[in-house]
């Protein structure tokens, strides 16, 4: 116990005495640890940004995409598709799911009524597709029982009303024969410049207030819809967010169940599982490469300075031997000096990396920003610290071996 504490005290004393040389040697090590930790954290943020970007397009991993279409043009619409949707959620204990119906609604813009693209969805789509409105909010379950439909529109929709924000709490009229008024509760970024106006509406509200033809005919109830009598009958797509490890089995079961509910229809279940391992590995290796090279340079500097210092300290080592310092203690002491120094440098490096990562302008660097900011990778910090300790040990090994070989009498007279 006293041996270990004594060695640490001794090593710390040496570092304190040789502040400048330690500082110079350790800048490289600290930078290397910052690089390893920081790059790993950046890689993890980059992966998260990439994942979220992908999930905005196709839903969280793994989202099952259930589509059904008639095998022949005369097939009748499957009865109780919405009930089948509810049964599926219950049977497979699916927490987040949404129906998605691409349709049109007649919207009374200031310059006239236009058929406007509308997606009738469930509130969970916001979670599944990571939808974050630019202004206002996304739907909640409470909106489904509202007495008037609510809309989340794109910027083009809002601009078509001559508005730029929701401060006036805009209300729009939908339908031509029996128009209904709808509140705009959220605004999304346009998907591309010059996008046409479009809106999201809750599936239940759409069928309750607006009707399958988008006229506002208040058809009441939900079910298979067709906006155009000439168009084939269709059912809404289902998005089901399921656990990744069971997605394949659940997908097969759901396809079988729904197929039984929809005779004459073809039911297909696809998943959005994607493998981003390639990017992950590549960026990780870039991080390790950069950090490793920096560590090598820092370590070489440390070895160099440690060797020079040990030569300079030969007499001191001899004097310590006269105090009863065993060769093991001298070896351990010199080694520990290096390790203690690199541990301090490693800590500085990690703190620096945390400071950098926490102050990165995420929106600017990663485009759309990151919704679920990955936690700071403590594993990377540990790897950085371990690398620093390893470099310290290796850098201390040579001078420590040299120190042990010093003859006590020669050293005292040096």
């Amino acid at each position: 116990m006293t041996g270990v504490v004594g060695a640490i005290v001794e090593a710390w004393g040496e570092l304190r005495i040789h502040k400048l040389r330690v500082l110079l040697a350790l800048i490289g090590v600290a930078c290397a640890v910052t690089a390893i930790t920081g790059v790993t954290a950046l890689v993890s943020m980059l992966n998260q940004a990439f994942t979220e970007q992908t999930e905005r397009q196709s839903g969280r991993s793994v989202t099952l995409n259930v589509n059904a279409w008639p095998r022949d043009a005369g097939a009748a619409a499957p009865a109780g598709w919405d009930e089948a949707f509810e049964r599926t959620l219950e049977r497979y204990d699916i927490t987040y799911a949404s129906r998605n119906e691409w349709t049109q609604a007649l919207v009374r813009f200031p310059d006239g009524t236009r058929a406007t693209q509308v997606q009738a969805v469930d509130a969970d789509l916001g979670t599944i597709n990571r939808i974050v409105p630019e202004q206002g909010r996304w739907f909640t379950d409470a909106d489904e029982s509202a007495l008037a439909p609510t809309l989340v529109v794109n910027e083009a929709f809002l601009h078509a009303y001559g508005l730029t924000d929701l401060s006036s709490r805009p209300i729009v009229a939908l339908g031509d024969r029996s128009p209904v008024t709808a509140s705009v509760i959220g605004v999304l970024h346009d998907d591309w410049p010059g996008a046409e106006p479009s809106a999201y509406v809750l599936y239940e509200q759409f069928h309750r207030w607006i009707g399958p033809d988008g006229s506002g005919a208040q058809s009441g109830g939900s079910g298979p819809t067709t906006a155009d009598p000439m168009m084939p009958v269709q059912v809404p797509t289902m998005f089901l967010w399921v656990p990744a490890d069971r997605s394949a089995a659940i997908g097969e079961s759901i396809a079988r169940d729904l197929q039984a509910d929809a005779p004459g229809w073809q039911v297909e279940v696809m998943d959005n599982a994607f493998d981003d391992g390639g990017l992950d590995k590549a960026t990780t290796w870039v991080g390790i490469g950069v950090g490793g090279f920096a560590l090598l340079l820092g370590g070489l500097g440390l070895v160099n300075i440690a060797l020079v210092t040990v030569r300079y300290r030969i007499r001191e080592i001899g004097i310590r031997r006269s105090f009863g310092a065993t060769s093991g203690r001298v070896f351990f002491g010199v080694l520990l000096e290096s390790v203690v120094a690199t541990v301090v440098a490693g800590l500085v490096g990690v703190v620096l990396a945390v400071a950098i990562i926490k102050n990165i302008p995420v929106e600017r660097v990663f485009g759309g920003g990151i919704q679920d900011m990955p936690p700071f990778p403590f594993s990377a910090a540990l790897v950085g610290m371990a690398a620093a300790v390893a470099v310290g040990a290796l850098a201390g090994l040579i001078p420590a071996t040299f120190a042990v070989r010093v003859k006590v009498i020669d050293a005292i007279r040096y």
């Binding site: 006293t2 041996g3 504490v5 004594g6 005290v9 001794e10 004393g13 005495i17 040789h18 007499r315 001191e316 004097i319 310590r320 031997r321 006269s322 105090f323 009863g324 310092a325 065993t326 060769s327 093991g328 203690r329 006590v408 009498i409 020669d410 005292i412 007279r413």
Partner: protein, 266 residues
């Protein structure tokens, strides 16, 4: 049983031209606890080699060295090192204080290799020892800010802080003026007698040697007891150098030099 006992100890080194240089030849001496022994001899006569063997810094080529009756040759390197730290205190001619460390840190240094109470109370013990050598007000002073005499006092405090059984002083006054050297020796004698430690002083200063209870002369590697009468102009059968002022160092003649330093440490 003597504290230290050398019997027929020799020490030889092989020179680059393959000749054997016999630094010590048949040295036999015993030192008891609390005794003050002085060894005189000119530079290169093997005084420091003898001191290094006594202090377990070097090993004899042949002969036996008993430390409290224990043959040193049977101890492992680690045991020898630990006994060196525990039982011996060294005082060097050039002080050998650790640079960049305060007087207190220098005195603390040997306690870093101690165990138990000595280790955990090292700062207090070091401060007390500095107080004892009259440097209680200089604990935070760096060695380069201390006078030669003060530096040697720090070195003495450092040598004594672990309570050694033996104090080995290698030319302790060699780098000091006569008055300061006298004060340092007074201090060494006083503390050695207070602690009951044996004091082995190596010197070529007869005034310093005369303080010891027993004196030996080392010439050509052979250790012989002498009776040193400070009023005498002779050390055994060898005449002293002319200056006989009571405060002036009296040197042994060149006749006692067997080999020079360069040969010894080649």
């Amino acid at each position: 049983m003597s504290l230290l006992e050398l019997t027929d100890v020799t020490r030889s080194v092989r020179l680059p031209d393959d000749r054997l240089l016999h630094i010590l030849q048949g040295v036999t001496v015993a030192v008891d606890a609390g005794e003050h022994v002085a060894i005189v001899g000119r530079s290169g006569t093997g005084k420091s080699t003898l001191l290094n063997i006594l202090g377990l810094l070097d090993a004899p080529t042949s002969g036996q060295y008993l430390l409290e009756g224990v043959p040193i040759g049977k101890l492992s390197n680690g045991d020898r090192t630990r006994r060196r730290g525990r039982d011996f205190g060294f005082v060097f001619q050039q002080f050998n204080l650790l640079p960049g460390r305060t007087a207190l840190e220098n005195v603390c240094a040997p306690l870093l290799y101690a165990r138990g109470r000595q280790f955990w109370s090292r700062t207090r013990l070091a401060a007390e020892m500095l107080e004892r050598v009259g440097l209680g007000d200089r604990v935070d002073t760096m060695p380069d800010k201390l006078s030669g005499g003060e530096q040697q006092r720090v070195a003495i405090a450092r040598a004594l802080v672990r309570g050694p059984r033996v104090i080995l002083a290698d030319e302790p006054t060699g780098a000091l003026d006569v008055d300061t050297g006298g004060e340092v020796m007074d201090l060494l004698d006083e503390i050695a007698s207070q602690t009951g430690a044996a004091l082995v002083t190596i010197t070529h200063d007869l005034a310093v040697a005369s303080r010891a209870e027993r004196q030996f002369r080392l010439a050509e590697g052979v250790l012989v007891p002498i009776s040193l009468d400070t009023s005498s102009e002779w050390v055994g059968d060898v005449p002293l150098v002319a200056d006989r002022s009571s405060h002036t160092e009296r040197r042994l003649p060149d006749a006692l030099v067997s080999v020079d330093d360069s040969e010894l440490h080649a």
